[in-house]
């Protein structure tokens, strides 16, 4: 997978590039719209990550120009603007997405994966998920560990499903709220954490190896380690 990262703030460009490379992507970078347009029109990138505040052109205009010249790669918009522009929302319908700064790298990667999945051919949805000795039946919405069924509420199952789908990858509290409860805000209290503690007390019961781990400052990860 090859990505184009357009960002004029070099400090941000550097750490985003590093994170993307570590996640296994090939990354080309541009610091201004002129160079970005030239790179984008090569047509070799699977997705573009574009900051809106570029020195020589508004990021949205850059996207529009690339689209007009035949570029079809999905775009992930980075924006420092809090109130998300109408036009950005309009683009969202066209298969694009946006993130406002400051963002968690985990969320950037998750949205990028989502964009790339959307643009590629849909994969056959699996009916079961397995992580180590944890099994999820997505059709019957039941979970078991070491072949013993777990008594989960519907929300707890959704939460566990979300963690399993992202097994090995860190998810933030905001991402959990968004995907499990369909709400987009940053909670100031431990409201999400309490759900995780409850789930953990059922999944990682005594005698089992812990699967749900807390990553301080970022969120949670489900992995067998």
């Amino acid at each position: 997978m090859r990505l184009l990262l357009v960002e004029d703030d070099l400090a941000i460009q550097r750490f985003v590039e590093q994170a993307l490379v570590e996640a296994g992507y090939r990354v080309d970078t541009a610091s201004d719209a002129k160079r970005a347009e030239a790179l984008a029109l090569e047509g070799v990138h699977d997705a573009h990550i574009v900051d809106l505040g570029l020195p020589d052109m508004d990021g949205l205009d850059l996207i529009a120009r690339c689209r007009a010249q035949g570029s079809s790669a999905p775009v992930l918009i980075l924006s420092a603007r809090r109130s998300v522009d109408e036009r950005v929302k309009g683009l969202e319908n066209g298969g694009d997405d946006y993130l406002t700064k400051p963002f968690a790298l985990a969320e950037l990667l998750a949205r990028l994966r989502n964009l790339l999945r959307r643009s590629s051919t849909p994969q056959k949805e699996s009916a079961r998920l397995e992580v180590a000795d944890l099994q999820l039946d997505l059709v019957g919405r039941e979970a078991s560990r070491r072949d013993r069924p777990l008594q989960l509420t519907p929300h707890e199952f959704s939460l566990l499903e979300y963690l399993c789908r992202n097994a090995g990858r860190v998810v933030t509290r905001t991402m959990i709220l968004d995907h499990v409860w369909r709400m987009r805000f940053d909670p100031a209290t431990n409201v999400v954490d309490v759900h995780i503690y409850r789930l953990r007390s059922k999944v990682d019961a005594a005698g089992c190896r812990p699967l749900i781990h807390t990553i301080r400052g970022v969120g949670y990860v489900l992995r067998d380690a």
């Binding site: 109130s83 709220l177 409860w181 431990n190 309490v194």
Partner: protein, 478 residues
């Protein structure tokens, strides 16, 4: 005239008003003058025509013997004593009258009664064309130094002689001159007096404006509590003063709020920044890798608090400025409450709170779901942050007089009395509150953007009540 006077508005107002007044009155006088002049002439002509008729009659009837001259002269003399409005000024007769009877065939057959030499009148009369019975003005040159103007009529008359009766216009002119002179003196006085009065009254009014200007100029950002004196009457200048005072009040409120916001943001940023810095510094001097991991995690959490504070501050500012973009769609409020309660239930249970929902009826509002979720979660976060353990929280939803009424009520300590009236303002929070004082301000701003209202109160037996009223959407089934 000093330049400073000409540049004042008072002078300009007075000048133009007076100019308009004087031109108007002058035009009125002109019309009056023409009317009077015509009236006087009409009266003179009526007299002249009448007398001339009598004289012509006498001249016709009298046989042309030696007595003829005598009789006609006698009648002419009589007529002259009947001149209307005969006045004398300085012993001089104002209304001189002459009578002339001329026989063009015989020069000796001429009769003249009147002042001065006959020839001068005769030569003036000969230059004019005469229509019987129509008076006209002629100039008699050289009579009494200057040319005098006479009104003369030649009556229709049979006989060899032509008859002319003339009346000096001097008296008429004298009356008209006197009228003009008197008018001009009164007019000039009135104009000057009017100029003075209008200048003084305009200056008096504009001096009040000047005082407002001086006061406002003096009020910088430091003396914003100063106000203009407001006179009791309600003329334009008083209204100006009152409007300025209102504006100053609003500016003062904004400036104060801005100061509070800046102070609060600065204060609220300092503690997380201090702790982030301390944590990272401690991690640097420690050798243990696990300690580093922990410190970085703590630093990120601190930074998240900082960015949350900044974001919420901006959101509230944007919402209060009315710049919030609403993505309205029909929202089932009961559904929203149920979802949020399911999200918050475990955290509430952890603090031994009991949450009870009373969803009376199916209530749909036209609202932005994401903002509504944040708004209601703010209320529940408040309960988590502020209540001591083991409280009871009741959430009631009903439709009431065209509004959706959502009440969140607890049996905790209630709002601290010192902030009870201002709890919806930005950065207003209780002394021991762990929050940032933005939660309820955001709730208020979002609800207002939906044209709703927020009411807060402390219950008499303890506990806080927050009531949201949102207009019910038109889509609500009857």
């Amino acid at each position: 005239m000093p330049k400073t006077l000409r540049t004042t508005a008072a002078w300009r107002i007075a000048f133009w008003t007076t100019l308009a007044f004087s031109l108007g009155t002058f035009a009125a006088f002109f019309i009056f003058y023409v009317f009077v002049a015509q009236e006087i002439r009409a009266r003179s002509d009526a007299w002249l025509t009448g007398e001339a008729q009598v004289l012509a009659q006498v001249a016709e009837d009298t046989p042309r013997d030696s007595l003829y001259d005598h009789v006609v002269e006698e009648v002419a003399e009589l007529a002259m004593h009947e001149v209307p409005d005969e006045t004398s000024s300085g012993g001089e007769r104002m209304n001189a009258v002459f009578f002339l009877s001329v026989n063009p065939a015989a020069d000796s057959d001429t009769l003249f009664v009147g002042p001065g030499p006959k020839d001068k009148f005769w030569s003036a009369i000969r230059q004019a064309r005469w229509v019987a019975g129509v008076p006209q003005s002629i100039k008699v040159a050289g009579w009494r130094q200057t040319a005098a103007s006479f009104r003369v009529v030649a009556p229709a008359h049979q006989g060899p002689t032509a008859i002319y009766l003339g009346l000096s216009e001097r008296g008429d002119k004298h009356i008209l001159h006197k009228l003009t002179r008197r008018f001009l003196s009164v007019w000039a006085g009135t104009v000057l007096f009017g100029l003075l009065i209008s200048y003084l009254s305009a200056r008096r009014t504009l001096q009040r404006v000047e005082r407002i200007t001086e006061t406002v100029a003096r009020i910088g950002s430091e003396e914003l509590d100063e106000r203009l004196p407001e006179p009791a009457n309600s003329d334009e200048v008083s209204r100006l003063a009152r409007t300025f005072n209102h504006m100053l009040g609003r500016i003062q409120a904004s400036v104060n709020q801005l100061r509070t916001v800046t102070d609060s943001v600065a204060h609220d940023l300092k503690s997380p920044v201090t702790s982030i810095r301390g944590t990272l510094e401690g991690a640097l001097s420690a050798a243990n890798g696990e300690h580093w991991r922990d410190a970085v995690g703590q630093a990120i959490e601190g930074l998240d608090r900082v960015s949350a504070l900044l974001n919420t501050t901006l959101d509230v500012a944007e919402a209060q400025a009315g710049a919030l973009h609403l993505d309205r769609a029909p929202v089932d409020l009961g559904e929203v409450v149920t979802q949020l309660v399911s999200l918050y239930q475990p955290a509430m249970a952890e603090r031994h709170h009991e949450v009870r929902t009373h969803l009376g009826s199916h209530v749909v509002v036209e609202a932005d779901l994401a903002l509504l979720n944040r708004t209601l979660s703010n209320l529940l976060e408040n309960e988590l942050l502020h209540l001591p353990e083991g409280c009871q929280i009741d959430i009631r939803l009903r439709s009431h007089e065209g509004d959706a009424e959502l009440v969140v009520e607890d049996n905790g300590p209630g709002f601290p009395p010192e902030i009870a009236n201002r709890a919806l303002e930005r950065f207003v929070k209780g002394e021991r509150s762990p929050g940032n004082g933005l939660g309820l301000a955001f709730v208020d701003a979002v609800v207002q953007a939906h044209r709703g209202t927020v009411k807060i109160s402390s219950r008499p037996l303890g506990g806080a009540t927050v009531t949201l009223l949102l207009p019910i959407s038109a889509l609500q089934p009857a």
